[in-house]
């Protein structure tokens, strides 16, 4: 059997189908379904009993778009949050594209709210105008005299629940440019009392994650993968596996990348896979160790940069009265979402297939499965389930685990659905890591205490190069995701030179919550502190002095001032030390002040984190706070003690005991302050992460030690 597994160029294929972004208001009229539910447009369904359903084009991994986009629809129609439900959109890159990505449906780059803000409000407003027009027609009134409040259409001395007009509204033409409510009319947008729509089901066991899919007669498949990246199956022996009750069969995937073990249930699959013996062909496999990766990166920092990303002044460092220098190292990191990767594929009666998946980038697996099964796109359906975290891991340019499931399914007779399940060990050892990076920074300072030159070298493994997403991020050889947060910093830095060298990948690499900012913010903000200290200036004052009058600079300065004020900067609790960092990422500005006890010779305890965020209009303030809290914890947990290491190409870590996640006692209170703003909403899922580790490092530096190697435990820091 010939199975196409090439993913290269699938974005080109997407682009070739042409067309612009389809904004959901072209679904003329819509249809009245048999169950009394009317699809007003691609984003809004309303049933005759008045229930509104928001159709969510983004997936929900906890970051809040199910609540956020529903809020926009409810606001514009004029219903309360208790009157709206949500469902996840099918995979359809024409109707449900991420407007920041082109014709591609996906969630990433903290764009869910930013790209949906106008679109979903417009969809809700169109629904409102249609319902008002229908009521006006029924009542012989002017639509402009009517209003919708809490799901009731009022005006013309009459009132009736909006559900009564659903069928009539469905027959009307949608307005081309529906009038949006103005901010002074908002009751839900910006309301801190709006609650998540998915809280209850996630607290009583009813929430359905992809891992919870149980299709009739399904098989569980687990894969035996090579010990090293690039290994292939030579042969396998399943004699022992056959003694496991519930074992069905084992088979090599068509691409020779793994042996699939099929079983009646998960426990049988786990046992049978353990009992399987596989001979691997490792002739093309990766054999490098993480120590070699680090050596290569550190050596690259000392050689001429491969790419001059920014070069403003030929010899600015000569003008400096004082030069400080520091190198940094950032290790490989796993994402380790709580729900191990998994998805389920079943055959449909019409010859098509359905993928059940916590699909972060539906268009990716959609196109991949279309190729593998040689089916037209419309015969491949994706049912998006809740995702138990991702932090980037469920969005790979290769659709890695969905392709594995497809290959495991395509070699069966397709009579039984196949659910592919990864174990925690599979996840920890399965590649797609935050790449390792090194930075070497020299900062030239003047006698009057200002930056006069900044020479910044970066070396590491590109995330985007060699993937289908290369075109998005790589310009003139420079992968922007390797330098973002440095080369585009809002700080006023004269004599700014940024150089980049790509080093060879030893494993597959992937974006990890906040992508390049995971390391660039650390290098920038630790360096800013070192520079301030070198010239005897306060860390906050020094930063403010290097932020000028542009809008970005003023927004960055404002969150820094707010965090400093709320944290009582300069006056820590007795016996504690403060550190600060501020960073712009994904269009948003976040400042964090961390207060620690200990440091020096004592164990460090993170006592308090005070955050200020400007992410434009705060649609769901409490979700924003939660994302900052989570982003801080995710960044700090990794910075404190996590790394993936390789020995001879083999990953050394297995499970949480050797990739210890942040625990409840690791961080004290996190306080988040939201800057009022009339700017369009920007990212919130990721921007809390970048300043967290440098703020901690700066607090530790305040207690006497520069932390230049992550995780911090590798640089001699111990935590309480």
């Amino acid at each position: 059997m010939t199975v196409s597994t090439s993913r290269r160029g699938f974005l080109k294929a997407a682009a070739a189908t042409g067309a612009l972004l389809v904004v959901g208001l072209n679904a003329k009229g819509a249809f009245a379904a048999a169950d009394g539910t009317t699809q007003i447009n691609p984003f809004v369904k309303i049933s005759e009993d008045g229930r509104v359903v928001a159709v969510i084009k983004h997936f929900e991994k906890g970051q809040g778009p199910a609540t956020g986009l529903s809020t926009l629809i409810a606001e514009e129609i004029g219903v309360g949050m208790e009157q709206i439900d949500y469902e996840f959109a099918p995979s359809n890159p024409e109707l449900y594209a991420n407007l920041a990505f082109g014709q591609f449906q996906g969630t990433g780059g903290s764009t869910a709210m930013a790209n949906s803000f106008l679109q979903y409000r417009s969809a809700g407003a169109a629904a409102r105008e249609l319902l008002k027009a229908a009521a006006a027609e029924a009542w012989g009134a002017e639509a402009s005299a009517l209003d919708i409040v809490d799901g009731v259409i009022i005006g013309n001395d009459q009132s009736a629940p909006l559900g009564e007009f659903v069928a009539r509204a469905a027959a009307l033409e949608a307005p081309a440019e529906p009038q949006l409510k103005s901010p002074d009319q908002w009751r839900l947008i910006g309301n801190p009392d709006v609650r998540r729509l998915d809280s209850e089901i996630k607290g009583n066991g009813q929430a359905m994650f992809a891992m919870d899919v149980h299709l009739p007669n399904q098989m569980i498949a687990m894969l035996a993968r090579p010990p090293q990246s690039g290994g292939l199956v030579a042969s396998f022996d399943d004699t022992e596996a056959q003694t496991v009750k519930g074992f069905i069969r084992a088979a090599t995937l068509p691409n020779n990348a793994a042996v699939a073990v099929y079983a009646e249930n998960t426990w049988a699959a786990i046992q049978a896979r353990e009992a399987l013996t596989v001979e691997w062909d490792l002739s093309q496999a990766e054999t490098r160790s993480s120590a070699q990766i680090k050596e290569e990166i550190m050596a690259a920092l000392e050689a001429d940069a491969e790419f001059n990303v920014l070069k403003n002044d030929p010899a600015p460092m000569d003008k400096a009265d004082k030069v400080i220098e520091q190198t940094f190292y950032f290790p490989l990191l796993a994402h380790a979402p709580m729900e191990p990767l998994n998805c389920t594929i079943e055959a449909n009666e019409d010859g098509g297939i359905t993928l059940h998946d916590g699909a972060q980038f539906p268009t990716g697996p959609h196109m991949a499965l279309s190729q593998i099964f040689e089916l037209p796109m419309e015969k491949v359906r994706i049912k998006t389930m809740l995702a138990g975290g991702s932090f980037g891991r469920r969005a790979t340019p290769t659709a890695d685990y969905q392709v594995e499931a497809a290959l495991a399914f395509v070699i069966t007779d397709r009579s039984r659905p196949v659910k592919l399940v990864w174990s925690r060990e599979d996840d920890m050892r399965g590649g797609y890591y935050r790449p390792a990076f090194g930075h070497k920074v020299r900062v030239g300072l003047s006698d009057d205490g200002n930056i006069v030159a900044w020479d910044h070298r970066i070396a590491g493994q590109s995330i985007m190069k060699g993937t289908a997403f290369e075109g998005f991020s790589v310009r003139d050889g420079v992968d922007h995701s390797s330098v973002e947060g440095v080369s585009d910093t809002p700080y006023d830095i004269p004599g700014f030179h940024v150089g980049l060298t790509d080093t060879k990948k030893a494993t597959s690499t992937l974006w990890w919550r906040s992508v390049g900012h995971t390391h660039t913010a650390y290098a920038m903000e630790v360096m800013m502190d070192m520079a301030a200290r070198a010239v005897g200036r306060d860390a906050v004052e020094f930063r403010l002095a290097h932020l000028g009058d542009s809008k970005d600079q003023q927004r960055k300065a404002a969150v820094l001032k707010l965090a400093a004020e709320k944290a009582n900067w300069g006056n820590p609790t007795a016996g504690r030390t403060q550190g600060v960092a501020v960073h712009k990422s994904f269009g948003s500005f976040v400042a964090e002040v961390i207060e620690i006890s200990g440091g020096g010779a004592e164990d460090v305890q993170i006592e308090k984190v005070t955050c200020a965020v400007d992410c434009g209009i705060a649609v769901n303030p409490d979700v924003i706070k939660a994302q900052i809290e989570g982003g801080v914890g995710y960044g700090l947990g990794a910075a404190m003690r996590d790394e993936i290491t390789l020995t001879g190409g083999v990953v050394d870590q297995f499970n949480f005991p050797d990739y210890e996640p942040l625990r409840i006692g690791d961080i004290g209170a996190i306080e988040t302050h939201i800057m009022p703003s009339a700017e369009p909403p920007t990212g919130i899922g990721e921007p809390g992460t970048p300043p967290s580790a440098p703020a901690l490092a700066n607090a530790i530096a305040g207690a006497g030690q520069i932390v230049a190697v992550l995780p911090m435990v590798n640089d001699g820091i111990s935590f309480a």
Binding site: Q63, G203, G205, W267, I270, M338, A387, F656
Partner: protein, 154 residues
């Protein structure tokens, strides 16, 4: 082997090999999916259930040891006063993000409050240390337990 498993007050006849973790009986045989698989080695707590009222990691609890025991999962914990208080607190404070670990967090929180109705922050940290949350909702878990304690006081 065939045995009777009493789960959420209902007796189920279960056919499972000795050594089968309770987790997989609950999820795959009984199709109750609120109890989650996170690590399989009792280091994340996502699979926490109660056996005779006390939290255990169901991935390391074996089916042959459960004859005559009463197992309670997230699906039924709300029927207890403490379970209802914790679930109410979780909703009030929107503790959850992705939610995958939260069944286990709630089962452990109920265990804590059953033993210690007014836990200190240190008590909470000690008791909940084995329940990992990669979304880092810990601040709200801490607040949720304190709020549940208030609700229980009435």
């Amino acid at each position: 082997m065939s045995l009777t498993l009493k789960l959420n007050g209902v007796e189920h006849s279960v056919d499972a090999e000795p050594g089968t973790p309770l987790l997989w009986v609950i999820r795959d045989e009984l199709k109750m999916t609120g109890t989650k698989f996170g690590c399989g080695v009792a280091s994340c707590g996502s699979c926490t259930v109660h056996v005779d009222g006390a939290p255990v990691r169901s991935c390391q609890t074996y089916i042959e040891d459960l004859e005559g025991a009463e197992v309670t999962t997230i699906e039924a914990i709300g029927e207890t006063d403490i379970g209802a208080a914790v679930q109410q607190a979780w909703k009030e404070l929107d503790v959850v993000q992705c939610g995958y670990c939260q069944s286990g967090q709630i089962m452990s929180a109920v265990g804590l409050l059953s033993e210690n109705p007014k836990p200190s922050v240190e008590d909470i940290h000690d008791y909940m240390n084995g329940n990992a949350c990669r979304c880092a909702t810990y601040q709200r878990i801490r607040a949720g337990i304190q709020r549940a304690s208030e609700i229980m006081e009435g």
